[in-house]
């Protein structure tokens, strides 16, 4: 490893573990903890990638998760960020965006024709002639983009976590650490988030060689490690800041949703590159990148360095290089400054050029030297490293997203927070504080106030620690007649491109961004936007504030979709009888959250299985699991009054031991639910709802209870009870084998309810017939459900009883003309349209929806009718929701349709215009393929119109108990 340094005091490496990895077909070695770019650099590989447009060689720039020109492709993932992704054994990566190989990239041809590809050329070049566009599109798609996505990817989901704290601190540099510690000392819970694997931030790379900071480092780090109120979330970045101080934190394990009472933003600053000719040559990098390379990964950025600086930090970087054994040829200061580090640099013998201008990098495949002017004299220096320290831009995304604002401070030549939302506090370099002791103090006061805010206590006044002199160059841009002075390294944008955009009238920051695409690459302008703003401001003769800045929207870094998606939580309900259904080869279907048997497989085709189940019910006995029905207990002093108000029929006059159809509408009179109500006692009712509406009905009833101030209680016992429906001409005989209850017509008449024991299990029996045969609905505790079901199946063996599923039930009820709410009704259907006016008792003083229904009764424009198809040919059978057409206009739709084995024809229900409701009318139905078929309106019920089969030999016609 050519450029590897001896162990550094704060390095992140485990030198005991050597890792071999492959890059562009060659094997390299690194240490555990190395990142890809660092390990390659240590091995002397300085061309890490190719630029987006011109395919120029690129090396390190920021080494801070923004090095978009050092993205890599592995077998599984595209666009791996080399400056933050650790190497692993057997890792095999290649550079993205190359044609051929990184060394021999055919894409470099683009640079040769670069002068014909000015900014925005693609907006103007490809629209005419139109017939050529597909070819251009293909070419553009081939040329553009970075890594390759494997379109055969499999589903990957990462878990999400909720985390709660009082104070969240974003950034674990010196200010953030101080803020976290101070806040925790106030007794609040603190969450400290940092995107690096280890806390410390610039304290460990910019001040690594400052003996004075040893005590601060120890105090802060040990304090955080030992404080029970501080939770450190490292290797994690705040991807977005949302309302009420919710933070989306992306971690390698998945997304964390963090809720905080207050937030300290200590995210620091992004070092900004200078713009000069060939500023993209490998070897030209930000000074902080070089410091990170040394301190964290013990890698020499170069052998011979020159530092271009506009601040004191550049001098510190030069001293760090020298201390690492790098020859520092010179410091090129764009001005003149006084500070301790300047004196130390002078004392150490480093040559310092002041008032430097017109910098140019030279070299072919990498940096070989620089040319510059100092005091009017042009000079040339040979070097393989040029470190830029010309200024900073705030990492202000969390503040922008929280609703805060920044404005330009001309003393510091930097954007600073000018408006912070309640509960948001800023500190450190982001806040314009640069002295290290001040940064710690600024963090402490932000942490204190954040804690006080979280505790709802008055805040304390803060001292102003902002620097008194600039740490950024007001215009670190040197134009060169030959160009190649890059402003945006992601998008390969040069100074001339931005000037061209401005000259064409795109002289608003948002317009310039969109036309030139500055800041629209993967790093989202983190090291290009500030220079872009400066260029635009100068061109327009405006201030930075007047020029404005673009919005930093989430996500802060590209965040995997698998993290955003999270685990899939899809609740699924099983009835108490589910194990029987499984053993009986049920084909399951989803009904809301429930899994229900659609039919039971017998080895025959689906249609025949269903028909066999239908025949069993019609000819002997069948048993269906209806545990999915909603089941509500309604009890209390005003239970009867509540039932009267909830349902369209009168319930308060129901006899104890009787049952009644229960239809519910909403305030607008729209049918929303139906079921069967029974009365256990004067003050106790039990009512079923449809399968999918138990929760909504329960919620609505609870709301009405409060609104009506009635003394009653409603319990949703849907999941606590099992229910099944035994139906068929032999159902009474089956049941008689299991109970002592008098099941005769006289003892247990149609529509009555009985509480009895079935094989020793307590049950509620209701004589109702949704499927149009003699039948009993059996309700019992869920724990007894399976045993009772099996007992009935055993008792029914001599009658060839069969379990039947949802499809058979749908057909059976269709033959009876019974509607299914939600299928035969829609979000606008009222009971009169559903031909259920008989279920609406407008004489009642009040019920939910009565005012609407009173009006709707005489305003009916459509109605549900029964029909039979005039052709039984399979290709002539329409589907549910196919339209009814009359005179070329839509006149209705089919709500239910099926083949009736009992009638040997296709029957159905359709919601049609009232003009078509006459018995015998012809309905014209349009199939999905556009062909038309005819049907005839017929009376319902289709089957057993007198209802004799569900109450055989029964003379009593009225409701009984």
């Amino acid at each position: 490893m050519k450029l590897r340094l001896p162990p550094q005091p704060y390095e992140w490496l485990d030198r005991k573990q050597i890792i071999e990895f492959e890059f562009e077909g060659e094997v390299y070695e690194g240490f555990k903890g190395d990142v890809i770019s660092g390990a390659l650099w240590a091995n002397g590989v300085k061309t890490l990638g190719r630029s987006f447009k011109y395919h120029r060689r690129r090396g390190l720039l920021s080494f801070a998760n923004h090095d978009i020109n050092a993205l890599f492709q592995s077998k599984d993932y595209p666009n791996i960020r080399g400056d933050v992704t650790q190497i692993e054994d057997y890792m095999n990566v290649r550079a993205v965006n190359t044609f051929g190989s990184l060394k021999h990239d055919k894409g470099t041809l683009v640079e040769w024709i670069g002068k014909f590809l000015p900014v925005g050329f693609y907006y103007k070049a490809f629209y005419s002639p139109k017939f050529l566009f597909p070819k251009w599109e293909s070419l553009i798609r081939t040329m553009a983009g970075l890594g390759k996505v494997d379109t055969a990817w499999g589903e990957e989901r990462k878990p999400k976590r909720y985390l709660h704290c009082d104070v969240a601190v974003i950034g674990a540099g010196p200010s953030g650490m101080a803020a976290a510690l101070k806040a925790a000392e106030q007794g609040v819970d603190v969450c400290l988030i940092d995107e690096n694997a280890f806390i410390g931030g610039s304290l460990d790379y910019q001040y690594a060689n400052e003996p004075e900071q040893v005590s601060n480092r120890k105090r802060l780090k040990q304090g955080i490690a030992s404080h029970p109120n501080i939770q450190v979330v490292s290797s994690a970045y705040v991807a977005g800041y949302y309302g009420d101080h919710w933070l989306a934190i992306n971690t390698p394990q998945g997304l964390i949703k963090l809720s905080a009472q207050s937030v300290v933003v200590a995210t620091g600053v992004f070092e900004q590159p200078a713009v000069f000719r060939n500023n993209d040559l490998p070897g030209v990098m930000n000074a902080s990148a070089a410091q990170r390379l040394i301190s964290r990964y013990a890698v020499k950025p170069c052998n011979t360095a020159v530092v271009l600086t506009a601040n004191a930090e550049g001098y510190r970087a030069a001293l760090d290089m020298q201390q690492s054994g790098i020859e520092v040829k010179a410091i090129l200061d764009t001005g003149e400054r006084l500070c301790r580090w300047v004196q130390e640099a002078e004392s150490s013998g480093i040559i310092i050029y002041k008032n430097v201008e017109m910098v140019e990098a030279i070299g072919k495949q990498a940096l070989e030297g620089i040319v510059f002017k100092a005091n009017g004299e042009q000079k040339t220096l040979e070097c393989d490293g040029l470190l830029m320290s010309v200024g900073w831009a705030p990492a202000g995304a969390p503040i922008y997203q929280a609703g805060g604002r920044f404005s330009y401070d001309s003393t510091l030549e930097q954007l600073l927070p000018s408006l912070l939302p309640d509960g948001v506090f800023a500190c450190g370099r982001l806040n314009g504080v640069f002295d290290i002791e001040h940064r710690i103090q600024d963090g402490e006061q932000a942490g204190l106030n954040a804690a006080l805010y979280a505790k709802r206590e008055p805040l304390v006044d803060c001292l102003d620690f902002r620097a008194a002199q600039a740490h950024s160059h007001p215009f670190p841009i040197w134009e060169h007649e030959k160009g190649k002075n890059f402003v945006d390294f992601d998008e390969d944008l040069q100074l001339k491109d931005l000037k061209g955009a401005i000259a064409q009238g795109f002289d608003n920051i948002e317009l310039m961004k969109r036309f030139s695409t500055i800041g629209m690459g993967p790093s989202q302008g983190k090291h290009s936007n500030m220079n872009g703003i400066r260029i635009l401001a100068k061109a327009r003769g405006q201030s930075i504030d007047a020029t404005g800045s673009t919005t930093a929207r989430p996500m802060f870094h590209p965040t995997p979709v698998s993290h955003l998606a999270g685990m899939r939580f899809r609740p699924e309900r099983l009835t108490p009888i589910h194990t029987f259904h499984q053993q009986a080869q049920a084909k399951f279907m989803e009904a809301g959250a429930w899994l229900r048997p659609e039919y039971y497989r017998t080895g025959l085709p689906r249609k025949m299985c269903i028909e066999a189940e239908v025949k069993a019910v019609r000819n002997s006995a069948g048993l269906i699991d209806v545990s999915t029905l909603g089941k509500l207990e309604v009890f209390g002093q005003d239970a009867a009054e509540l039932m009267d108000r909830l349902y369209t029929m009168r319930m308060s006059n129901m006899k104890i031991g009787a049952s009644r159809y229960a239809l519910m509408v909403d305030d607008a009179g729209v049918v929303i639910d139906d079921g069967v109500a029974i009365r256990y006692s004067e003050e106790h009712f039990y009512v079923s709802t449809t399968t999918t509406s138990s929760d909504s009905a329960y919620r609505m009833i609870q709301k009405k209870l409060i609104e009506w101030k009635l003394s009653a209680t409603v319990l949703n016992r849907t999941g606590q009870l099992a229910a099944m429906n035994l139906a068929g001409p032999n159902s009474r005989k089956v049941l008689a084998k299991l109970t002592d209850l008098d099941l005769s017509n006289e003892g247990f008449p149609y529509l009555a309810m009985r509480q009895a024991k079935l094989s020793g299990y307590p049950v509620t029996l209701i004589r109702v017939g949704f499927v149009g045969e003699l039948g009993y609905e059996i309700h019992t505790d869920a724990s007894n459900g399976l045993a009772i079901w099996k007992t009935i199946m055993k008792a029914g063996e001599e009658f060839s009883i069969r379990p039947f599923g949802v499809e058979a039930q749908r057909l059976l009820r269709l033959e009876k003309g019974h509607i299914i709410v939600g299928q035969d009704t829609d979000g606008l259907t009222n009971p009169f349209e559903a031909d259920m006016g008989w279920a609406v008792h407008l004489q009642k003083p009040y019920f939910l929806g009565k005012p609407s229904l009173s009006k709707l009764k005489v305003m009916q424009s459509r109605t549900l009718v029964g029909f039979e198809l005039l052709s039984n040919q399979a290709e002539h059978v329409p589907l549910e929701s196919n339209l009814v057409i009359e005179d070329g206009e839509m006149a209705g739709r089919i709500t239910s349709i099926g083949f009736s084995p009992a009638l040997d024809k296709h029957i159905g229900l359709a919601m049609v215009d009232v003009a078509l409701k006459a018995i015998g009318s012809t309905l014209h139905m349009r199939l999905s393929n556009g062909r038309m078929v005819q049907a005839k309106v017929v009376e319902t019920p289709f089957y057993d119109p007198q209802g004799l089969l569900q109450k055989p030999q029964e003379t009593l016609q009225e409701e009984v108990a």
Binding site: K158, P159, M567, E572, R573, F635, T713, R717, Q720
Partner: protein, 157 residues
Amino acid sequence: MSVSLRVKNSANLQHLRGPNLSEVLTRFESSDLALFRYRNLAEDQFIAKLGREELLIRSEIDLSDSLESGQYAFQRGDAMFELSGNWKGLLSEVCIFDFRQSRPGDFLMVSMAGVSVWMLVPEVDKPLVLGCDPTYGHYLLETLQRQIDESPFLKME
């Protein structure tokens, strides 16, 4: 710290609704039980106060015979589970609730992985007991077990 999940028997779980439940509380020596608090009665037995007129009781004592007028007792067959170890870590992946707000003895009702769940917040280092509608039992069991087996967050802790 790992987390483990165990299915519990939910026999003898009763839901009481109605006025004047103070006598029932007295019978279980829990007259001072506050709202949304529970008290352990014996091994696997507890009484929880869900409202002025609502109690959830797991006890071998059958209350149905001693109810006053207007009081109703319903048997409950909830799916019940016991979580030991790092249950807060596990629940943070399926539940938004801030468990810093709870204390031992609290009876909580929360939404967990899309299902309504009640839980008995335990003393430190004791297992957490939770229950839900029995028809969601298999789903919740599978969901929690999958998180325990697969969550990279939990593996780190």
